[in-house]
């Protein structure tokens, strides 16, 4: 498939190299992709019989990107019928993504909820490889044990850094943490709150209360980053759907410093 006109709307075909099933609803598609890409960026993926949907990058490898897709509504059901070797049409990556270097030094807190883990998966991976990985605190929350994503990564992260894995609720007999991610912020041991950096990704209410918790703990607004989810039709700053105030989530985000995002009201 050619794109001789250099038309940013024309998608390219990408081969599905591997499908990783996390839950009944969430799968990671390991896609062929060559080019610059950062965690937190997203691709517009053409889904047969549905249309385009913005999917964030959950992992980056050699000539590969991971796209973790949640089976929600009619949007993404079709993709789940796709298997290794077949192709999907995509365009991107779009958005600013996370600059992992920014969080590499010193104490860091990452709070991620549900599919919000996808965009920060690369960030957490990078943190887990730092020398002072034990100063990297990661709270990951899911609705229930059945909803857990990236189980292998969770095990790895648990070894390498300070991981707090929690679920909102669980059947009797579950021995892990039960509770909202916000409940674990207080307990994180921090030496210098004013220099600690934080990254928050998840559903809007979770992000709101997590940031409140972090600020209460003493973190500075300028040291907090969040990632916004909005309807993104074009990824190019044209269609308008993702605009919040003067910002376009697809161009200026989806990752924003809290000092910016606090003024982005819906």
């Amino acid at each position: 498939m050619s794109n001789m006109n250099n038309n940013p709307y024309i998608p390219f075909p990408s081969t599905i190299k591997e499908v990783i099933k996390h839950t009944d609803k969430e799968y990671t598609f390991r896609m062929e992709f060559t080019g610059d890409v950062k965690p937190g960026q997203f691709f517009e993926v053409s889904i047969p019989k549905y249309g385009e949907a913005p999917i964030s990058v959950s992992g980056i490898g050699d000539d590969l990107v991971d796209l973790t897709i949640r089976k929600v509504g009619r949007v993404t059901n079709e993709v789940f019928e796709k298997y290794e070797g077949q192709t999907l049409l995509m365009r991107g990556p779009y958005g600013n993504g996370f600059d992992t270097d920014e969080y590499a030094d010193g104490e860091v807190i990452v709070v991620a909820g549900g599919t919000g883990v996808s965009p920060v998966r690369g960030v957490i991976d990078a943190l887990s490889l730092t020398e002072d990985a034990k100063d990297k605190h990661v709270i990951v929350g899911f609705k229930s044990p059945d909803d857990m994503l990236f189980r292998k990564d969770l095990e790895r992260w648990d070894e390498a850094l300070d991981l707090i894995l929690t679920v909102d609720g669980a059947p009797e007999g579950y021995t892990g943490n039960i509770g909202l991610v916000t409940e674990f912020i207080d307990g994180i041991p921090i030496r210098d709150v004013t220099k600690t950096k934080a990254v928050v990704v998840g559903p809007p209410p979770m992000m709101k209360f997590t940031v409140i918790g972090l600020l209460k703990k003493g973190l500075l607004e300028e040291n907090i980053w969040v990632s916004q989810e909005r309807k993104m039709c074009c990824g190019l700053g044209k269609c308008g759907h993702c605009r919040i105030g003067e910002k376009y989530v697809c161009l200026d985000g989806p990752v924003f410093k809290y000092t910016e995002s606090k003024n982005m009201l819906d």
């Binding site: 024309i10 047969p48 249309g51 049409l89 989810e229 309807k231 044209k238 759907h241 003067e246 819906d266």
Partner: protein
């Protein structure tokens, strides 16, 4: 260079131009209004001057050429994507001064906002030249003077003002001037007519504090607005669209992708996969729209989005006035400043 000519000779000019250009102009569509035996003025392709509505303000904007209400972008098959063809002929778009200013807004979003230009917009935009329709007098809802869009000094190939049945045209474009001269147009000094006074005035706050988000100024719109989105559709500066895919085959691999105009007032505008939705109330949507037009766009582009054409007021079934809303916002901003 200016020319004065009869309607018949003006028709000849259009006839000659028709060999090179398609003419996209406001047309009075009889009986195509909302209600029985009501008309609507909207844009369409024309061939002679009788078809062009030069008196009334158009209900719908010129943007429908560059931003078609429904536009097929490309066709896809299993292994190929092919952009939809367009008519290769250049286009003369007839519009008023406020709309000339709106072009700058469309260009900003589609050509300057973000790293990438909009390929499909650009393709149509490059075909367009503008013909300025002079405004002898203000229309009921116009507030172009306060928005600074009442005057247009350049950017048009010729202008049209009908004065006592004679067509008076300023023709800055040399090629166009040749066509006028060939059609027995008399050379004379012509300045396009511009409105210098509107009945409607707006008072746009220099800066709008974030506190306005929580202002009760929006509350009445939650009750009054019916989120029909007509204000967005008729607006010459609204640019939002939504993608639609149409599948010709059961496997969903052959079909077309198109985009259709979108409205930030209509349900579904913010819906994300999984059911998330932002700005549920019509008051919130009104705030989103109004602040874009008089503040948020300006923060990015350096100039206000709204051009004061007043079409949104004309079309609103609930008599919601955009200009009145601007002034309510201005009052609220002043009040907030006084309270501090």
């Amino acid at each position: 260079m200016g020319y004065q000519l009869s309607k018949q000779n003006f028709g000849e000019v259009l006839g000659k131009l028709g060999e090179t250009y398609r003419l996209f102009a406001p047309v009075l569509k009889k009986g195509e209004g909302r209600f029985k035996d009501t008309d609507v003025v909207r844009y369409d392709f024309v061939t002679n001057p009788d078809e062009i509505e030069l008196e009334k303000k158009s209900d719908y904007a010129f943007k429908e050429f560059m931003l078609p209400i429904s536009e097929t972008l490309f066709f896809f098959t299993e292994d190929q994507v092919k952009e939809a063809d367009i008519d290769e002929k250049d286009v003369l778009v007839f519009l008023r001064s406020c709309d000339m200013h709106a072009v700058k807004r469309l260009d900003y979003i589609y050509l300057e906002n973000g790293k990438e230009q909009d390929w499909f917009y650009k393709r149509l935009r490059e075909k367009v030249k503008f013909v300025l329709i002079g405004c002898a007098d203000t229309f009921e809802d116009c507030f172009c003077v306060d928005m600074g869009s009442n005057r247009t000094e350049d950017g048009y190939v010729f202008s049209v003002d009908v004065i006592d049945g004679e067509f008076c045209c300023d023709v800055p474009d040399a090629d166009m001037a040749k066509v006028f001269a060939e059609c027995k147009a008399v050379e004379t000094e012509v300045t396009p007519r511009f409105v210098t006074e509107n009945e409607v005035h707006v008072d746009i706050p220099e800066s709008i504090p974030i506190g306005i988000y929580g202002s009760d100024v929006w509350d009445e719109y939650s009750a009054r607005c019916v989120n029909c989105g007509r204000c967005n559709i008729v607006c010459p500066t609204c640019t939002c669209y939504t993608m639609q895919d149409v599948f010709y085959t059961d496997n969903g691999k052959v079909g077309e992708r198109r985009r259709v105009a979108a409205s930030c007032m209509i349900d579904g505008y913010t819906n994300v996969a999984g059911g998330g939705q932002y700005r549920r109330t019509n008051g919130e949507r009104m705030r989103f729209k109004v602040l874009h037009k008089i503040q948020d766009f300006k923060s990015r582009a350096g100039f206000n989005m709204c051009v004061g054409c007043g079409r949104c007021d004309m079309v609103c079934p609930e008599y919601i006035s955009f200009s009145a809303c601007i002034n309510k916002v201005a009052d609220a901003v002043r009040k907030e400043a006084d309270d501090e």
